[in-house]
């Protein structure tokens, strides 16, 4: 086994173990919020659990999966050995040590600040240092991805970088930009406060810095799914990628329009002005461009596959697709969830509607549907696709994989659709328990229980996923694994430098970031507003 494959397996397993543990916590949290009596409930266990669930799902599962997938792509798409594997392992151990440090701190009850931190709440410093180590590990990955692409371009002058690698490097470049915001917040505000060096913290500044990271981080999680859509799904469906250029444009647009848009998370925050909120919402709306490009391109690619398989008529090709293949099935289910989630997202980014749903369960339901649904179901499908080549064994049962994907889809809709509705009824988020003796709140009860049932289906599906991966151990040894990457209808022979690298786009991101975030950040130093008193959650005064 090559280094990249061992690396990929190690990363995927850490991510999936964290995922399985966080899933159990998630179900318990749904239970606590329901009218049914739940065990182990105190406010502090609930918020510690939410912190652990969010940290594991949003930072550990995602970062490790993205890194593992990247190492696999770098070796297979470029068909060369990974540069500096020792550094890659350093990044792995760094991120793993950070994960353990953060998790131990959370479970000792010293970090119940939720995964988005919420200063002036301040947790034990070990929680934040743990997360910084995870990010530091991922930075090593970013540099390795950029170096791998650079070395390949050096060895293949004038040739287009394979789309899978181009997209992976787009994600690495975006991640480097993305993490600047939260890193500044942690290093200059939160960690000094956690160490007791600062008694006050400027919450407006920290929220603005976090918003810089908060939207792009979602695209960092999402891009592996899009890489699978463009480079693996057409192949799995037995067709070709409709357009390689569309793919490049999509990833470039994600890089540009993921960053100068974070203020739309602060629409209800008083410390940013209407004009800058408007500007960033307008830029947010442009993310519809790469999304629609993708829906169109992948739709067209699947249509090619469907027609090659004998599908006829306007919609006949849909039925002709090989839905029995897990990756194709997952793509269909992911697109359905993307449609629901995208609609919810449009509500969130609209100022007036955001005012109505902002502090309600609508928001929580939205990000579970779009991240837990669209993104994570593709993580499953990616794992199923790569496992034969990573383990050298064939899957013992595709039916078990399909069942798992269907359960995830059904569970996610059963959980999140009532959850959205509860948000519209006014159910607030970030709350452990509700007074179901109140007649208005009592009416929420049945929907919360439906939501909990969805959570239980997700738990069954998640455990089945881990079992399916373990089952590979008993699968028969497979000889040379099948090609995973799709060929384009017109394979690119030459592409403009703009679509073969990131120099131009980095300059444009820099310009947009200066314009969109320059004054919103600078105002805190010009006006010098009063800080909030640091509020430690790990000890009393």
């Amino acid at each position: 086994m090559t280094h990249a494959r061992r690396l990929a397996l190690a990363h995927f397993w850490i991510g999936f173990i964290a995922f399985a543990i966080a899933l159990v916590l998630g179900v318990w949290q749904m239970w606590v919020r329901s009218p049914l009596p739940a065990p182990f409930l105190t406010a502090s266990t609930y918020f510690s659990s939410v912190t652990a669930h969010g940290t594991a799902m949003a930072y550990v599962l995602t970062t490790f999966t993205v890194m593992g997938f990247g190492y696999y792509v770098a070796e297979t798409a470029l068909a060369r050995a990974l540069p500096a594997p020792r550094w890659a392992w350093t990044g792995f151990w760094l991120a793993l040590a950070g994960t353990l440090m953060a998790v131990v701190t959370i479970f000792s009850g010293r970090a119940a600040v939720l995964f988005t931190f919420y200063p002036p709440l301040i947790a034990s410093v070990f929680y934040y240092i743990g997360l910084v180590l995870v990010v530091a590990g991922s930075w090593i990955w970013c540099v390795l991805m950029i170096v791998a692409m650079g070395q390949w371009k050096g060895a293949n002058p004038g040739r287009p970088v394979p789309l899978a690698m181009f997209a992976t490097v787009a994600n690495a470049v975006m991640w480097l930009w993305t993490t600047v915001g939260v890193t500044l917040e942690l290093l200059f505000q939160v960690i000094p406060a956690a160490l007791g060096l600062k008694a006050q913290i400027d919450v407006g500044l920290s929220r603005t810095l976090f918003s810089w990271t908060l939207h792009a981080v979602v695209y960092f999680w999402l891009i592996p799914s899009y890489i699978a859509f463009y480079t693996m799904v057409p192949q799995a469906a037995g067709g070709r990628l409709y357009s390689d250029t569309m793919g490049r444009l999509t990833f470039v647009l994600f890089l540009i329009y993921s960053l100068p848009v974070g203020l739309h998370h602060l629409l209800m925050d008083p410390h940013q002005s209407n004009a800058f909120k408007f500007l960033q919402v307008a830029l947010t709306a442009l993310v519809s461009v790469p999304t629609l490009l993708t829906v169109f391109t992948i739709g067209a690619s699947l249509e090619i596959a469907g027609r090659l398989r004998g599908g006829r008529g306007l919609f006949g090709w849909i039925g002709a697709l090989p839905w029995e293949r897990p990756l194709v099935l997952a793509t269909g289910l992911a697109f359905l969830m993307l449609a629901f989630g995208g609609f919810g997202g449009l509500v969130n980014m609209s100022y007036g509607m955001n005012a109505m749903v902002h502090n309600t369960s609508w928001v929580t339901a939205h990000f579970h549907l779009i991240f837990g649904g669209t993104v994570v179901i593709m993580y499953f499908a990616i794992a199923y696709t790569l496992w034969p080549s990573l383990t050298g064994r064939a899957a013992p049962s595709l039916a078990a994989q399909r069942l798992q994907l269907w359960l995830w889809f059904i569970g996610m809709l059963v959980m999140t659709l009532p959850w959205h509705y509860l948000g519209l009824l006014g159910q607030w988020r970030r709350v452990a328990t509700f007074n179901y003796a109140d007649p208005i709140i009592a009416a929420w009860g049945p929907w919360v229980i439906v939501s909990l049932v969805g959570g239980l289906i997700l738990l069954v599906s998640g455990l089945l996923f881990v079992r399916n991966l373990l089952q590979f151990a008993i699968g028969r040894a497979s000889h040379v694994p099948a090609e995973v990457y799709a060929t384009a209808v017109h394979p690119p022979l030459r592409v403009p430098a703009a679509l073969n690298g990131f120099r131009l786009w980095n300059v444009l991101v820099l310009v947009l970031m200066l314009l969109a975030y320059g004054y919103p950040l600078a105002q805190f130093f010009i006006i010098d507003p009063p800080g909030a008193l640091v509020h430690r959650v790990d000890q009393r005064r």
Binding site: S273, A275, F278, P496, A497, L508, L533
Partner: protein
């Protein structure tokens, strides 16, 4: 690479496209929208643009609301980082002033009669500071404490609070600890959502995220604690910000008040 003829139009047109969208959004959001909104609110163009950009306070869509309402604070205490730091430093002034307190609260802050007077030893300095301030301002009424607190200056209140906070708490004889009832433990750890009672520990617990002035309740006499809860319940004591304690005490039964007082008076941690 920059000489590639394929690339030049890309650089130009990508920049033009991205910057035009940006310029359009700026014109719309920074100029057009505020002017239109401001017109409806009777604001001139300059004022509404300044408001939209956050250079002046207020919304470009509404005239600044004018209110004649005067705040009537429950307490006159305001927290600052400097004050919190000062409360962490015991001083010689504090020790001198403390002589006036010893007749009731004991030399080391251990009450001479825990039924009537609270222990000050090991109490949070922040909590002590707030109570002394409230006795001084009249937010908390006490015929005994008011005349003692009124002559104290701000610095003296800080000093005496920091002084008593530095003493170790009274030691409790473990053999006499009764087991608390399950219902009381639940109130302490989980509260009662059906009566809108938050867990006591949400503010008074060892790792609480509650307001800084929440006092430590352990190592106090049960009679003193229950007297305070009853005073909150009747509204006789009213120096709790946002009526937090009055709201909770109002819905506690008398037996719960006794049970909670007993729980905290015989508990080591929390």
């Amino acid at each position: 690479m920059s000489t590639d003829p394929l690339d030049r139009p890309w650089r130009l047109w990508a920049s033009v496209a991205i910057l035009s969208v940006f310029v359009f959004s700026v014109l719309f959001g920074f100029v057009l929208l505020p002017i239109i909104q401001g017109r409806g609110a009777g604001l001139d163009a300059f004022e509404s643009i300044c408001r939209a950009l956050g250079l002046r306070p207020g919304s470009p869509a509404a005239p600044q609301p004018a209110s004649e309402a005067k705040a009537q604070p429950t307490t006159r205490v305001a927290w600052s980082a400097e004050l919190m730091q000062a409360l962490d430093r015991p001083s010689a002034i504090g020790a001198q002033l403390a002589a006036a307190c010893t007749a009731c609260h004991g030399k080391d802050g251990r009450s001479v009669d825990p039924k009537l007077y609270p222990d000050l030893a090991g109490q949070s300095a922040v909590a002590l500071y707030k109570q002394l301030n409230d006795f001084k301002s009249g937010s908390r009424l006490s015929a005994v404490m008011a005349p003692l607190a009124q002559p104290l200056s701000e610095e003296q209140i800080v000093a005496v609070s920091a002084h008593f906070a530095a003493f170790p708490v009274r030691s409790l004889p473990p053999a006499q600890m009764p087991a608390p009832s399950e219902a009381i433990e639940r109130l302490v750890a989980r509260g009662d959502p059906t009566r809108a009672i938050a867990a006591c520990n949400a503010c008074h617990g060892e790792q609480s995220g509650g307001p800084p002035e929440a006092p430590r309740l352990t190592h106090q006499g049960a009679q003193y604690l229950s007297a305070q809860l009853r005073a909150f319940k009747s509204g006789e004591r009213r120096n709790d910000i946002y009526s937090r304690m009055r709201n909770v005490a109002a819905v506690l039964s008398d037996s719960e008040i006794e049970g909670l007082a007993g729980f905290y008076s015989t508990t080591f941690t929390y």
